[in-house]
Amino acid sequence: MTVQIDPEGTESKYLHRYAEFERGTGRVLEVGCGDARLTWQYANAARQVTGIDLETDDLRVALIDRPANLAQRVSFARADAVHLPFKSGSFDLAVFAWSF
Protein backbone atom coordinates (compact mmCIF):
# COMPACT_ATOMS: atom_id res chain seq x y z
CA MET A 1 0.00 0.00 0.00
CA THR A 2 1.64 3.20 -1.14
CA VAL A 3 0.44 6.65 -0.22
CA GLN A 4 1.91 9.83 -1.57
CA ILE A 5 1.34 12.81 0.69
CA ASP A 6 1.25 16.34 -0.67
CA PRO A 7 3.49 15.90 -3.73
CA GLU A 8 2.58 19.47 -4.68
CA GLY A 9 4.38 20.73 -1.58
CA THR A 10 1.47 22.96 -0.57
CA GLU A 11 1.88 22.39 3.16
CA SER A 12 5.55 23.34 2.97
CA LYS A 13 4.79 26.52 1.02
CA TYR A 14 2.28 27.69 3.60
CA LEU A 15 4.53 26.79 6.50
CA HIS A 16 7.42 28.80 5.06
CA ARG A 17 5.14 31.73 4.33
CA TYR A 18 3.89 31.77 7.92
CA ALA A 19 7.14 30.98 9.71
CA GLU A 20 9.14 34.05 8.63
CA PHE A 21 12.41 32.10 8.61
CA GLU A 22 14.00 34.93 6.63
CA ARG A 23 13.33 37.29 9.55
CA GLY A 24 15.31 35.22 11.97
CA THR A 25 12.88 32.70 13.40
CA GLY A 26 15.84 30.40 13.68
CA ARG A 27 15.19 28.32 16.78
CA VAL A 28 12.17 26.12 16.25
CA LEU A 29 10.26 23.86 18.62
CA GLU A 30 7.96 21.41 16.85
CA VAL A 31 5.35 20.02 19.20
CA GLY A 32 3.99 16.66 18.08
CA CYS A 33 6.64 16.09 15.45
CA GLY A 34 5.75 12.42 14.98
CA ASP A 35 8.06 10.81 12.44
CA ALA A 36 9.25 14.28 11.34
CA ARG A 37 7.46 14.29 7.99
CA LEU A 38 6.80 18.00 8.45
CA THR A 39 10.19 18.72 10.02
CA TRP A 40 12.08 17.84 6.88
CA GLN A 41 10.02 20.37 4.94
CA TYR A 42 11.49 23.36 6.79
CA ALA A 43 14.57 22.17 8.70
CA ASN A 44 16.96 23.56 6.10
CA ALA A 45 15.57 27.05 6.64
CA ALA A 46 15.90 26.98 10.44
CA ARG A 47 18.99 27.39 12.55
CA GLN A 48 18.01 24.84 15.17
CA VAL A 49 15.04 22.48 15.36
CA THR A 50 13.86 20.50 18.36
CA GLY A 51 11.04 18.06 17.72
CA ILE A 52 9.12 16.55 20.60
CA ASP A 53 6.58 13.78 20.70
CA LEU A 54 5.40 11.07 23.09
CA GLU A 55 5.45 8.28 20.50
CA THR A 56 8.80 6.54 20.75
CA ASP A 57 8.32 4.55 17.55
CA ASP A 58 7.76 7.74 15.57
CA LEU A 59 10.76 9.42 17.18
CA ARG A 60 12.88 6.43 16.21
CA VAL A 61 11.77 6.77 12.58
CA ALA A 62 12.55 10.49 12.72
CA LEU A 63 16.08 9.81 13.92
CA ILE A 64 16.69 7.13 11.32
CA ASP A 65 15.43 9.43 8.55
CA ARG A 66 17.44 12.44 9.69
CA PRO A 67 19.80 13.50 6.89
CA ALA A 68 23.45 13.57 7.89
CA ASN A 69 23.76 17.26 7.03
CA LEU A 70 21.04 18.09 9.58
CA ALA A 71 22.39 16.02 12.45
CA GLN A 72 23.87 19.06 14.21
CA ARG A 73 20.78 21.21 13.77
CA VAL A 74 17.84 18.87 14.30
CA SER A 75 17.25 16.93 17.48
CA PHE A 76 14.34 14.98 18.89
CA ALA A 77 13.15 14.31 22.40
CA ARG A 78 10.40 12.37 24.07
CA ALA A 79 8.51 15.08 25.92
CA ASP A 80 5.00 16.13 26.81
CA ALA A 81 3.77 19.54 25.73
CA VAL A 82 2.31 20.16 29.17
CA HIS A 83 5.76 19.81 30.80
CA LEU A 84 8.29 21.27 28.39
CA PRO A 85 11.88 20.63 29.53
CA PHE A 86 13.28 23.86 28.11
CA LYS A 87 14.33 27.20 29.53
CA SER A 88 12.29 30.32 29.09
CA GLY A 89 12.94 32.06 25.79
CA SER A 90 14.62 29.04 24.17
CA PHE A 91 12.75 29.27 20.87
CA ASP A 92 11.72 31.86 18.30
CA LEU A 93 9.00 29.74 16.79
CA ALA A 94 6.80 26.91 17.96
CA VAL A 95 5.02 24.74 15.41
CA PHE A 96 2.01 22.99 16.87
CA ALA A 97 1.31 20.43 14.18
CA TRP A 98 -1.72 18.20 14.53
CA SER A 99 -2.61 15.10 12.66
CA PHE A 100 -5.11 12.30 12.64
Binding site: M1, L15, E20, A81, S90, V95, F96
Partner: protein
Protein backbone atom coordinates in the same frame (compact mmCIF):
# COMPACT_ATOMS: atom_id res chain seq x y z
CA UNK B 1 -4.54 21.80 25.78
CA UNK B 2 -4.64 25.31 27.13
CA UNK B 3 -1.99 24.19 29.62
CA UNK B 4 0.24 23.02 26.78
CA UNK B 5 -0.21 26.32 24.98
CA UNK B 6 0.80 28.17 28.15
CA UNK B 7 3.89 25.98 28.37
CA UNK B 8 4.76 26.79 24.77
CA UNK B 9 4.39 30.49 25.49
CA UNK B 10 6.83 30.10 28.36
CA UNK B 11 9.62 28.71 26.19
CA UNK B 12 9.21 31.25 23.40
CA UNK B 13 11.38 34.34 23.17
CA UNK B 14 9.76 37.77 23.37
CA UNK B 15 8.01 38.43 20.05
CA UNK B 16 8.03 34.66 19.43
CA UNK B 17 5.66 33.00 17.00
CA UNK B 18 3.31 30.06 17.30
CA UNK B 19 2.01 28.27 14.22
CA UNK B 20 -1.05 26.09 14.61
CA UNK B 21 -1.28 23.69 11.68
CA UNK B 22 -4.01 21.08 11.61
CA UNK B 23 -6.48 19.23 9.42
CA UNK B 24 -10.10 20.30 9.59
CA UNK B 25 -12.80 17.76 8.98
CA UNK B 26 -15.09 19.06 6.28
CA UNK B 27 -16.36 16.03 4.37
CA UNK B 28 -13.15 15.88 2.34
CA UNK B 29 -13.71 15.30 -1.39
CA UNK B 30 -12.67 11.95 -2.83
CA UNK B 31 -11.37 12.42 -6.36
CA UNK B 32 -9.87 10.68 -9.35
CA UNK B 33 -6.96 12.70 -10.72
CA UNK B 34 -4.88 12.33 -13.86
CA UNK B 35 -2.15 14.36 -15.53
CA UNK B 36 -4.29 17.29 -16.60
CA UNK B 37 -7.53 17.02 -14.69
CA UNK B 38 -9.61 15.49 -11.95
CA UNK B 39 -13.19 14.61 -11.10
CA UNK B 40 -14.87 14.38 -7.72
CA UNK B 41 -16.47 11.03 -6.97
CA UNK B 42 -18.03 11.93 -3.64
CA UNK B 43 -17.25 13.00 -0.13
CA UNK B 44 -15.83 11.28 2.93
CA UNK B 45 -18.04 10.95 5.96
CA UNK B 46 -16.70 12.61 9.11
CA UNK B 47 -16.92 10.65 12.34
CA UNK B 48 -18.16 12.24 15.53
CA UNK B 49 -15.21 12.08 17.90
CA UNK B 50 -12.64 13.92 15.77
CA UNK B 51 -15.26 16.53 14.99
CA UNK B 52 -15.54 17.16 18.72
CA UNK B 53 -11.74 17.35 18.88
CA UNK B 54 -11.81 20.01 16.18
CA UNK B 55 -14.24 22.01 18.25
CA UNK B 56 -12.14 21.64 21.41
CA UNK B 57 -9.06 22.82 19.52
CA UNK B 58 -10.94 25.82 18.19
CA UNK B 59 -12.03 26.75 21.70
CA UNK B 60 -8.48 26.43 23.06
CA UNK B 61 -6.97 28.49 20.26
CA UNK B 62 -9.63 31.15 20.67
CA UNK B 63 -8.76 31.28 24.36
CA UNK B 64 -5.05 31.84 23.79
CA UNK B 65 -5.79 34.56 21.27
CA UNK B 66 -8.00 36.22 23.84
CA UNK B 67 -6.54 36.04 27.31
CA UNK B 68 -3.73 33.54 26.78
CA UNK B 69 -0.98 35.93 25.81
CA UNK B 70 -0.97 35.51 22.04
CA UNK B 71 -2.28 37.73 19.27
CA UNK B 72 -3.62 36.09 16.13
CA UNK B 73 -1.92 37.53 13.03
CA UNK B 74 -3.13 35.56 10.05
CA UNK B 75 -5.11 32.47 9.17
CA UNK B 76 -5.98 30.51 6.03
CA UNK B 77 -7.20 27.13 4.93
CA UNK B 78 -5.67 25.23 2.05
CA UNK B 79 -5.94 21.80 0.43
CA UNK B 80 -3.40 19.01 0.83
CA UNK B 81 -3.73 15.88 -1.28
CA UNK B 82 -3.14 12.26 -0.33
CA UNK B 83 -2.72 10.04 -3.41
CA UNK B 84 -3.06 6.30 -3.92
CA UNK B 85 -2.72 4.22 -7.06
CA UNK B 86 -6.03 2.41 -6.61
CA UNK B 87 -9.32 2.83 -4.71
CA UNK B 88 -8.48 -0.36 -2.82
CA UNK B 89 -5.23 1.15 -1.53
CA UNK B 90 -7.11 4.22 -0.39
CA UNK B 91 -9.69 2.18 1.48
CA UNK B 92 -6.99 0.08 3.12
CA UNK B 93 -5.08 3.16 4.23
CA UNK B 94 -8.19 4.75 5.69
CA UNK B 95 -9.11 1.53 7.48
CA UNK B 96 -5.61 1.23 8.93
CA UNK B 97 -4.92 4.86 9.83
CA UNK B 98 -8.14 6.85 9.99
CA UNK B 99 -10.81 4.35 10.97
CA UNK B 100 -11.81 6.64 13.84
CA UNK B 101 -11.69 9.79 11.71
CA UNK B 102 -13.48 9.30 8.39
CA UNK B 103 -15.02 6.60 6.25
CA UNK B 104 -15.94 6.37 2.58
CA UNK B 105 -19.56 5.26 2.32
CA UNK B 106 -21.50 3.98 -0.62
CA UNK B 107 -22.24 5.39 -3.17
CA UNK B 108 -19.04 7.46 -3.06
CA UNK B 109 -16.98 4.28 -2.91
CA UNK B 110 -18.77 2.75 -5.91
CA UNK B 111 -18.56 5.99 -7.88
CA UNK B 112 -14.85 6.25 -7.08
CA UNK B 113 -14.15 2.74 -8.37
CA UNK B 114 -16.19 3.37 -11.53
CA UNK B 115 -14.54 6.69 -12.26
CA UNK B 116 -11.06 5.32 -11.70
CA UNK B 117 -11.70 2.22 -13.84
CA UNK B 118 -12.72 4.30 -16.84
CA UNK B 119 -10.28 7.21 -16.44
CA UNK B 120 -6.95 7.76 -18.17
CA UNK B 121 -4.25 5.16 -17.65
CA UNK B 122 -2.31 7.50 -15.35
CA UNK B 123 -5.32 8.15 -13.11
CA UNK B 124 -4.90 7.89 -9.35
CA UNK B 125 -7.32 8.39 -6.50
CA UNK B 126 -6.86 11.15 -3.98
CA UNK B 127 -8.33 12.71 -0.89
CA UNK B 128 -8.54 16.49 -0.74
CA UNK B 129 -7.76 17.18 2.91
CA UNK B 130 -8.48 20.63 4.31
CA UNK B 131 -5.77 22.16 6.49
CA UNK B 132 -5.97 25.21 8.71
CA UNK B 133 -2.87 27.29 9.41
CA UNK B 134 -2.82 30.13 11.92
CA UNK B 135 0.01 32.29 13.13
CA UNK B 136 0.05 33.82 16.60
CA UNK B 137 2.59 36.19 18.06
CA UNK B 138 3.31 36.67 21.73
CA UNK B 139 1.50 39.77 22.87
CA UNK B 140 3.46 42.11 25.12
Amino acid sequence: MVHALNEIRGVLAPDGLLIDLRPLLDRWPVEVAWSDGYQEAGRATDLEEPRADDEAANVAMTHIAGTGGFARERQETFPVFYYWNTPKEMQEYIAENWDDVIRIDEPASTDLRSLWATANADARVRLRMKLLITRYRISQ
